[in-house]
Symmetry: C2
Subunit: 127 residues, 2 copies
């Protein structure tokens, strides 16, 4: 049944590009940033205030990465007082439904998963 055919459409095959893409888009801060930018375009320091846990460096890196992948857009509003605005691109907006599906799954199954963890942890305790 299982041959080495690379194009086995219908069942999901996880290829290297898939992994690389998911690593860039579902990383530590990207979801939170996209979440903010989906609601409204924001300035750099607005994002920092909205997501207090992110450092300047990580936020810069995250925004650059998302910009490179065409998910967000960086606009220089004015250069005399430096003002930058970040917003989702059309491509970025298409990312929302799949992510919502994923988060919905996480929400509905969190209780089961917590139960499974508790079960696993107590079992390995008594072992």
């Amino acid at each position: 049944m299982r041959d080495t055919a690379s194009d086995d459409v219908g069942a999901f095959t996880v290829t290297a590009p898939h992994r690389e893409l998911l690593d860039q888009i579902l990383d530590k801060w990207s979801l939170a940033v996209c979440n903010e930018l989906c609601e409204r375009p924001s300035r750099f320091n607005e994002l920092r205030r909205a997501i207090p846990a992110v450092t300047q460096k990580s936020l810069t890196a995250t925004l650059r990465r998302l910009e490179r992948n065409g998910i967000v857009e960086r606009t220089l509003l004015s250069s005399r007082p430096v003002a930058v605005e970040y917003r989702m691109t059309p491509l970025g907006k298409t990312l929302r439904p799949p992510v919502d599906v994923l988060l919905a799954w996480a929400d509905t199954h969190l209780p089961e998963i917590d139960a499974a963890r508790a079960r696993f942890d107590t079992e390995s305790d008594l072992a």
Copy 2:
């Protein structure tokens, strides 16, 4: 509090449990392992052969993590010659649709993303 919500749909806030869960389930090897186990239950070394790039250590860690979260199940088939089988749990099977949606998104938008990357990279080259 944001009362400027224009859309009820997808007012998802990415909370710490969300992030932790996604980190555990969408990590480097989990998708590939789930992919294999969705097709059929497998033994440890069958998984190694199916995913040649994974090391013993990482595969063990991945399977333990997935087992702890109730995604896969570990069954000792026989202890005289040690034989172990891994299979998806019912909970694990519910993970498949959301992941498929995500991978489908990745597939359809990979060209756009590659184009965006090329654009970004050439722009920063000439700068």
